[in-house]
């Protein structure tokens, strides 16, 4: 019986690693309750189309987003992550997104440093009134991730498939 565990690691962003046909990326969208989540609502109610690849999680504030969330999402199902919050100065909790901004920069740079493409994790400020912007952002992120292909780096294996 196979006992020694070897992860199936494939270095990402190799040109030959073409996505299988009909592959659609999974994007984890972590949105702040007060601006971006309301913004995504507005996008829907305004009947603006955006790709269905995004799976949205609502958090109270963008500063609720622990960098751990990003690592966890990238290691499980997500091929990319989008975190979105209020514009600077608009935070419902006054300064949450300023704190978040610092963390995001460090996390993004660190992930890039160890081998993730910088487009794998993206951030945006979307206010409750910016329905069209939200659609634009999701479009862009989806496009970016589609270009990069599926993420294979450091994935936790899916036990169900085996």
């Amino acid at each position: 019986m196979e006992t020694e565990v070897k992860d199936q690691l494939v270095s990402i962003e190799k040109p030959e690693l073409v996505a299988p046909p009909n592959w659609e990326p999974v994007i984890m969208g972590i949105l702040c309750n007060w601006c971006s989540y309301a913004g995504s609502d507005l996008t829907g109610t305004s009947r603006i189309q955006y790709p269905p690849n995004i799976r949205i999680i609502r958090v109270p504030c963008s500063s609720r987003v622990d960098p751990w969330f990003l690592i966890k999402s990238l290691q499980t199902t997500a091929d990319g992550v989008l975190v979105s919050g209020c514009h600077p100065g608009d935070c419902h909790y006054i300064s949450g997104n300023y704190y978040a901004r610092r963390r995001f920069l460090v996390t993004k740079k660190l992930l890039n440093f160890v081998g993730f493409h910088e487009n794998r994790v993206q951030f945006s400020w979307v206010s409750a009134a910016e329905g069209p912007k939200f659609a634009k952002v999701v479009n862009k992120v989806t496009e970016d991730i589609k270009k990069l292909g599926p993420l294979h780096l450091y994935k936790k294996e899916n036990f169900e498939k085996k």
Partner: protein, 290 residues
């Protein structure tokens, strides 16, 4: 750099005055010219104490063990150690009044092969920032915080940053694959004082005991992000790692990003400064956000 005599005198004085219960210092390891930490509980062992440029280990780590808890402790700190002590004080892990701190104006320590440690070459704060007593001459380069000495980006970081992404990814794959997840890095870090690490929480973490490459990635990345803006680059973790992994890469990468972008923040230099993630500025970079 040799403060053996002064430290022995200070320890003797402290024990004689009954000011401390334990003195944490260095002693010769007994087989070559390297040193190991020693916890001295009485004046009889004071002759063991030494301090030279081989005094590498960060002794602040001992403030989180059973042997020093709720005791009055005397300890020796170099520049980097004192910064971690500063953070522990700020984060209310130790009480200042229980400590007698012998600060050293450090000229840099050397590793087992006699080479000056890389973190000492790049050190910005060689003098102890917390002390009751300061030994040695304050070095001219130490007033660097305002920029008289430029920040040196770690050589390995600079070299790696220039490589293409795939090469970096391959390099780090090897790093994470070589990790055996003994958690020595965590245990030897003075700032990892949590009673139970979030990585070991059965319900919160992605991995529960599996010892795979992706689990190592998960653990080390989480760990380095928890220390981002707090790591003082004492390299205790690297000394402890049985796989000799270049763990400083993760920390120095964070440190360089933080120093460059967040008003030249250096962890633990100012008393009361909890770290880069506990404050913000309107001028923080925003260009990476859509």
């Amino acid at each position: 750099m040799n403060y053996t005599k002064q430290i022995q005198e200070i320890a003797a004085k402290l024990f004689a005055e009954g000011k401390i219960d334990v003195f944490v210092g260095y002693r010769m390891n007994g087989f070559d010219d390297n040193q190991v930490p020693v916890l001295i509980s009485g004046p009889q062992d004071i002759s063991k104490l030494v301090f030279t440029d081989k005094s590498v280990f960060n002794l602040v780590n001992y403030l989180k063990t059973d042997h020093t808890r709720r005791k009055r402790v005397g300890l020796v700190v170099k520049g980097c150690d004192s910064r971690s002590l500063n953070l522990m004080l700020t984060e209310s892990q130790v009480k200042r009044e229980n400590l007698y701190v012998v600060g050293i104006c450090c000229e840099g320590v050397v590793d087992d092969d006699g080479q000056r440690m890389q973190n000492c070459v790049e050190c910005m704060v060689p003098d102890a920032v917390v002390y009751d007593e300061l030994l040695g001459e304050t070095l001219s380069g130490s007033q660097t915080l305002t920029g008289s000495k430029p920040y040196i980006v770690n050589v390995d970081i600079a070299a790696l940053a220039e490589k293409p992404l795939t090469e970096r990814a391959a390099y780090f794959e090897e790093v994470f694959e070589s990790c055996i997840r003994c958690n020595a890095c965590r245990h030897s870090c003075p700032l990892c004082y949590c009673a139970k690490c979030c990585i070991d929480q059965e319900t919160a973490t992605l991995y529960n005991g599996a010892n795979t490459t992706s689990a190592a990635f998960h653990a080390l990345m989480t760990w380095s992000l928890h220390l981002a803006g707090r790591c003082v680059d004492c390299r205790n973790c690297e000394k402890a790692c049985p796989s000799h992994l270049p763990l400083h890469l993760l920390h120095k990468q964070n440190e360089s990003v933080i120093f460059k972008n967040f008003q030249e923040h250096l962890a633990g230099v100012n008393p009361g400064d909890r770290g880069a993630f506990y404050k913000y500025s309107m001028q923080d970079p925003d260009d990476f956000i859509m």
